[in-house]
Subunit: 345 residues, 2 copies
Amino acid sequence: MAKPEIHTMEELSAAIGVSRPTLSRYFQDPSKVSKSSVERIRRGLEQVEYIPNFFATRMNRKKTGMIGVIIPYLNDLFFTRLLESIERAAMRAGYTVITQCSHSDPEIEARAAETFLSMNVDGAVVAPLGNRSDLKVYERLNARLPFVLMDSRPARLSGVDFVGTDHVQSTGLITEYLSRVGAPPVFLAMPRVNFNALEREMAYISKMEELGFEPTIIGIESLNGEGYFEAHGLAVLDDHFSKGNFIDASILCANDRVAIGALRAAARHRLEPGALHRGGLRIAGHDDYPLSEFMIPTLTTVAQNVQAIGQAAVDRLIEKLRVEKPHDNQAVQLMDGVLKVRDSA
Amino acid sequence: MAKPEIHTMEELSAAIGVSRPTLSRYFQDPSKVSKSSVERIRRGLEQVEYIPNFFATRMNRKKTGMIGVIIPYLNDLFFTRLLESIERAAMRAGYTVITQCSHSDPEIEARAAETFLSMNVDGAVVAPLGNRSDLKVYERLNARLPFVLMDSRPARLSGVDFVGTDHVQSTGLITEYLSRVGAPPVFLAMPRVNFNALEREMAYISKMEELGFEPTIIGIESLNGEGYFEAHGLAVLDDHFSKGNFIDASILCANDRVAIGALRAAARHRLEPGALHRGGLRIAGHDDYPLSEFMIPTLTTVAQNVQAIGQAAVDRLIEKLRVEKPHDNQAVQLMDGVLKVRDSA
């Protein structure tokens, strides 16, 4: 026979014959309740099915135990890895994570922020959608809640905590590596959908100038709508390779998904990136996308430390939750990228 | 100057001088309120910043407007595409989706189900973790809520609505295609982490027997822990190719992620799948993983209709929400797979 189902503390109090305040104390801290009451409550709980109401138990609490997270896309393993690392860090710290995805739509991003405010989440971590985002959404969250931005940051937004990769270091590192072991690279950009796209371009240009080489940037125009980075890399290079351009170049791609498209373009034109006896074509990326080590050839890239970024974002958020005014008014944490030399360059 | 921030209907009522019941009626249906009150409320709302409390507005409603969704992994673009299609279908129907990921852990899956029950979500859609799931979790959700299972289903679970791919059809289709245009395929299994793994194996065996060929299954032993399908495909075939096994075989992989590892193994051994002049090696997959068309060579596969599965799961859930007792007591909807002939086979 099914146990009677009980949803409220009042019903529970009546069902097991223990006063409402005693029950409350028991759920907050059993050591505050007499041993005989603890016994009675435990026996009582075995006789009924008690499903505490999530809303009722949180509505009047100062802290809800919830962290809101927004990511811009679901169809990108970089962001799902970042989300996974945040969820695990938050779970370890005892928080429930409520995730919303912007699905490339600034209106959905803004609505997700309002949902978090109305849910009274304790804090929010957001990987911004990018250029099309309404910056007021981040300013509003930042004014109302402990708030941390991650992955990419708008140049025009100030006073907001940020955790991400140091693109000057990471892009500089792979630009320097490519220049040292072969021809100085051209840069295959990604459509400028977010702030990182531009930061990596700038970092490439400044490193090239530092090394005394002429920077060359291709593929800025979006050919395939945003988000489809592989299709973009394929379309841009297919076109260039058809005209005989860049067939023996060193090509640094703005991210690994663009590079996966670039490798596909090379295969279509029977080019073999990284096979030095076959000419100088080399292809490299940025991020260490989970599939990059399975590509043909395996993709040389610079890895973002996704685990560290997710953990640092949660750590910073929790620090802001614990102290009214954090010591450092605004914290920016930039993680170094790590070179992954494989076969493609 | 910032507008005063208001969280409760009581505060709002006091701030704009309209009674609490009138305000409630206005938010439920403005046509139920006098024209002069509507005017006063609209003017009042412009003067304050009203953030309705998500919990308070939902706690006492019969319907919360929320749908809970559980997916087993985040690091898999098949599941993120499925989640995206569910989120879009639910948004179109006016629901808020609360997503939880099991992160390959049955305890997290069970906890996510309890969170949904305590949140009093209107219904739940779950893509099960698989063999290690506690079936009682699904039975419990099914008993308490409108509930739909998707993607893979436990053989021992009955009376639960299900939406997924017809693996007998989809796996049969590609087995027959491979047999018709070349040597009958061997089957490179995936570790049996979920029910689909076994269903596809069985479907392969029965189609081979129907065609009068001897089925051959390899790679059932998990070499790399669950979830890392690419590494599994690479490890199993690298080992076989080293011994000269299957180097001119037709290899049907249990899913595209295994096939991506298989293509990598072929490249490592300088084999060229699909290039018939170089021998008979062919590699095919199942799912049409978003990256399959960018692989080298592009991967022949059978596509799952992810959009239709997500939409049908939400449609069925909403049907169950609307009527107390749905016409058909249990609905099982199986979608056909579609052959995608590319270069690898």
